[in-house]
Symmetry: C2
Subunit: 187 residues, 2 copies
Amino acid sequence: MSQVRIDPQVHLPMPVVLVGVMVEGKANFMPAGWVCRANYTPPMLAVGIGHGKWTAKGIKEAGAFSVNVPATAAVETVDYCGIVTGRSTDKSAVFPTHAGDLGAPLISDCPLALECRLHDALELPSNFLFIGEIIGAWAEESILKDGAPDPQKLDPLFLTMPDNTYWKLGPALAKAWACGKAVKDRL
Amino acid sequence: MSQVRIDPQVHLPMPVVLVGVMVEGKANFMPAGWVCRANYTPPMLAVGIGHGKWTAKGIKEAGAFSVNVPATAAVETVDYCGIVTGRSTDKSAVFPTHAGDLGAPLISDCPLALECRLHDALELPSNFLFIGEIIGAWAEESILKDGAPDPQKLDPLFLTMPDNTYWKLGPALAKAWACGKAVKDRL
């Protein structure tokens, strides 16, 4: 082992989602990797978005947003949404959508689409951390197993930085809350 | 396409980290998947942890914590840390550690270890969302490429729920802020 100090501007591997929101009457979508669950009951998630983003303006104004998990086949379209801003480019027709209970644009051809009610907007120095309660969830029927998304059928995208690479989910390795029992028994 | 409504208690695929903290004088470690970057400058991350967790008590008291990215080879030890609680089991000797500038226990044999100063603790209904500023980063020299972790050498773990499965990173698919240009040119 030889750990060395590196620049603290470090990124973790990220799942890739598309954040959908109505802005000035039009649906807009941006890819985001700064996203994770934040609360168990009720289910909430957190998403970090730069102060200047069109999506940030939309979430604050609409009070609702969607978090859509695209499949890897959509990688080019996902990336396109990160190259152009809704401020100058109308992305409302990029995906077919349906409105959630709160009016957030849910992407109909994503395997998983969640609608969130804005619970809190934490203003950090350069980003907002939006906390949303998941009030509705839609999934493509074919990816479900026992009523929940099957990870391999979901076929999610991951992003790493600074190499700016999209990745597929790799092979399954072990079971959680299970494989560690061998260690427990050894100690 | 046929999306159907499902239970909103939905999980995204998650990167797996070990959160390290000093609690009552002893280093403790818990695996966490509710973790993402939260702010760009200065670098911050967010981690969601249940109210009752020993780690939550430690972070609030110490004001500092570590976020360590284990390699897939450590999967059983990582899982072990999620099976036993620091409240009743001393996990301080599970990993070799070195103290960060703020005294947080950094795992010496993880390929990547970050020390965070607690910036904010958002109290949600069942979890705290801890926001930490990354004030130091250490990486195993052999995983670096141009000074930053190379994702394949980092060899991170992912977790999905409710199937409770650990996964490896899959094959690289495309370049971000690049592959979408083909879509832009088509439109």
